[in-house]
């Protein structure tokens, strides 16, 4: 899957689920946790990534802030996981 498509799908999920559909409120480099994704939302996000992209998010990956820091980081993380999967 192309990075642009991964970006589109994650963006759509974040906007629909956490920003009431307000796409303009999502910024690529913005810190997501605490700003966009609320306290219960991180789990929703992980479930989505696992279901949609068929990847497994390990506990230590979840705990590493750089993976989920921003939209850009999540897209990078998923791209890396997918390419490792082959």
């Amino acid at each position: 899957m192309q990075t642009a498509e991964i970006d589109r799908q994650i963006r759509e999920f974040l906007v629909t689920n956490f920003l009431f559909g307000r796409a303009e409120a999502l910024h690529e480099d913005e810190a997501l946790l605490g700003n966009v994704v609320d306290s219960s939302g991180a789990i929703e996000l992980v479930m989505f990534l696992q279901d949609r992209f068929g990847i497994t998010v390990e506990d230590e990956e979840l705990a590493a802030p750089e993976n989920f820091e921003s939209l850009k980081n999540i897209v990078g993380y998923v791209t890396k996981k997918l390419s490792a999967k082959g």
């Binding site: 939302g41 789990i43 929703e44």
Partner: protein
């Protein structure tokens, strides 16, 4: 307890009786027993009475014996007996034995400072004929409501906003700044309300209107300077003193010519107030409570224990999700402000239960959590600070999970995420608003729902900045715990708990709530106590629990504190949900009110329809949109 309203004409003309009649008619639920109007040159006062003290002689509006002062008064001055004696000894004459007349003579004796002599809960207006001055006042904690506005030629005031809207020329418009504040703090910052041009007299303030000039003045603010001598080496002494004050606060709150009942939630606070009543009253006490069909909100086991222990004659009412959705429009009509929680709705049912049993007055335990360290937000702030001292600690964040066992999603969060959500960074630690930032910032996400057109009116505005500017001098140097207490007491308590969950829900069924914990002597004493005896490590209301030993059952003293909550957003999407829900959230209604963005509301509704709305934020968003839509339809259309 009553409803009051009035009109002051700037040109000295006499207001129309019909207008005052229309205003007071909207407040019939606050005072169904009698009503009265007084008209004079330049002013008109109106009153709807719920007879509680001096059933024969307490009719209002009331004049002083010499006719120079007129008053319309909602509330109770609990120390009126002592004040009356004092005033008689100073030569004042009384024609009744009501507390209303005590206010008039106290005003005569002490002028505007009379309010500092009162121990009670009040909203009143005095017309001083000689001075041609209107004097309005609201009690220290903000138990009783008081709103005002101005039109071209008049100053208008009333217990509820709907009475102001009964007057011609009063604009009916939802205020963009008010919405911004509610979608941050859950309340508006007084004097602002949810409606443009409608103000409220803030708690602990008086207001005068003279020669066309309106002036607000704060008359009371408790000192939060800690007095270590209160419990240095002797916590029992402080606990005894607290209990003594609460006993006296309860004693004077039983002054009534009608029977007094008690709300019994199953928690420590209301069990204690009920126990203190039992010490004074010989007859079997009547108590009332809410139970929930949803087990996660229900506290009936503890309620039953408290009833058994205190031998009260108890009645309860069960609240279902259907009850909440059915009464919600009526609840909003009474709160007169948008809500982000449905929690007022069960209180509406409870006051109905009380009234159906023939009671007009109930004592409640409200206020204890604010003044004695009961809320989770105090613990949360303490844990966050503790964590911030060692950000790499693995077990410190676990304390946050232990704090919220009833939020399952939060339990599964990795520490890195909790750190972000709970704002545990060195920069956050320096903020005087540290304790409340996570709550406010979460709520502020709801602003995304507002339409561009509506929020354009408050573009660039920061509600948090406004609050920060209104803080008392030196606030930044206060102890952290006192800062959190101040924010909770001054904003959340008065603007939401005592209003939307308190006065408005009780008065919807003509029931008066009385709050021993909010006796100013108790509040002032509690404010001086060191934080360590309020929240001892993570044991909330430590000193209060100590004061309760032997009076409140051990099972209640040792139970895990359960915050009062009610089923929220999801109940509006059950198969039997009333038709207004769909109507209020429909694209045409959203477009008509103009407050919310159609696409954003659609996305939110879809999430609920698909049963994918699981977060606290979604719940708040749904209740926020629905209540605002109801408010807009009921009041501005």
């Amino acid at each position: 307890m009553c409803g009051i309203s009035g009109v002051l004409k700037f040109d000295g003309g006499t207001p129309e009786r019909e207008q005052l009649g229309q205003m007071i008619a909207t407040l019939h639920h606050r005072g169904p027993d009698a009503s009265g109007i007084h008209l004079a040159q330049g002013v008109g006062l109106a009153h709807a009475r719920l007879s509680i003290i001096d059933l024969q002689g307490g009719a209002q509006p009331m004049s002083s014996v010499d006719g120079g002062l007129w008053i319309t008064f909602n509330g109770e001055i609990f120390n009126y007996i002592e004040l009356r004696e004092e005033l008689v000894s100073r030569g004042h004459r009384f024609a009744t034995r009501s507390d209303t007349e005590v206010i008039l003579n106290a005003y005569r004796e002490y002028g505007e400072d009379c309010v500092n002599h009162f121990n009670g809960q009040w909203a009143f207006a005095i017309w001083d004929e000689k001075e041609r001055k209107l004097f309005l006042s609201r009690d220290r904690a903000g138990v009783r409501p008081l709103f005002y506005t101005q039109t071209g030629d008049s100053f208008l005031f009333a217990s509820e906003i709907k009475a102001l809207f009964a007057c011609p020329g009063v604009p009916r418009e939802i205020d963009a700044y008010g919405m911004d504040q509610i979608f941050t703090f859950w309340v508006t910052l007084p004097p602002r309300t949810a409606f443009k041009h409608i103000c409220q007299v803030p708690p602990a303030h008086s207001l005068t209107v003279k020669d066309g000039r309106v002036q607000l003045r704060r008359y009371w603010s408790p000192s939060y300077a800690v007095d270590r001598s209160l419990c240095n080496g002797n916590e029992q002494k402080a606990a005894d003193e607290l209990l003594h004050l609460l006993q006296d606060a309860t004693r004077i709150r039983l002054r009534s010519d009608v029977p007094v009942g008690a709300y019994l939630s199953g928690g420590i606070d209301s069990t204690l107030t009920t126990a203190l009543v039992r010490k004074i009253v010989d007859t079997r006490l009547r108590s009332f409570s809410i139970t929930f069909e949803d087990a996660q909100y229900d506290e009936s086991t503890f309620q039953q224990e408290a009833c058994k222990f205190l031998s009260t004659q108890h009645s309860n009412i069960s609240c279902s999700r259907t009850n909440i959705t059915e009464i919600f429009p009526e609840v909003v009509r009474h709160t007169e402000q948008p809500l982000v929680r449905t929690a007022p709705a069960p209180m509406f049912l409870l006051s109905q239960l009380v009234r159906d049993h023939g009671f007009k007055v109930v004592l409640t335990g409200e206020g204890a959590d604010e003044i004695l360290g009961g809320y989770d937000i105090f613990k949360e702030a303490k844990i966050r600070r503790f964590w911030a001292q060692n950000l790499d600690s693995e077990w410190r964040p676990l304390l946050l999970k232990r704090l919220y066992p009833y939020l399952p999603e939060l339990q599964r969060q990795p520490a890195a995420h909790l750190k972000r959500f709970f704002r545990v960074t060195p920069e956050d630690l320096t903020s005087p608003l540290f304790s409340h930032l996570p709550r406010w910032e979460l709520t502020a996400k709801l602003k995304l729902l507002l339409s561009r057109e509506f929020s354009a009116a408050s573009a660039g505005y920061s509600a948090i900045q406004e609050l920060q500017q209104a803080l008392p001098a030196g606030f930044c140097g206060w102890p952290h715990f006192a800062q959190a207490e101040y924010l909770e007491m001054n904003y959340f308590l008065a603007g939401y708990l005592l209003s939307s969950q308190g006065d408005r829900m009780a008065m919807a069924h003509s029931v008066e709530g009385r709050y021993p914990f909010l006796d100013y002597r108790v509040v002032e004493f509690a404010a001086k106590l060191p934080a360590t005896v309020k929240l001892k490590v993570l044991n909330e209301k430590y000193l209060l629990k100590r004061a309760c030993e032997g009076i409140v059952p051990q099972s209640i003293l040792q139970r895990r504190k359960q915050p009062y909550r009610a089923p929220d957003g999801r109940c509006f999407f059950e198969p039997n949900a009333p038709s207004y829900v769909k109507e209020m959230l429909s694209p045409s209604s959203i477009q008509q009110s103009g407050i919310f963005d159609g696409q954003a509301v659609k996305a939110l509704v879809n999430k609920f329809v698909a049963a994918k709305a699981t977060s606290v934020k979604d719940d708040m968003a749904l209740v926020g949109v629905l209540s605002t839509q109801l408010l807009s339809t009921q009041f501005t259309n």
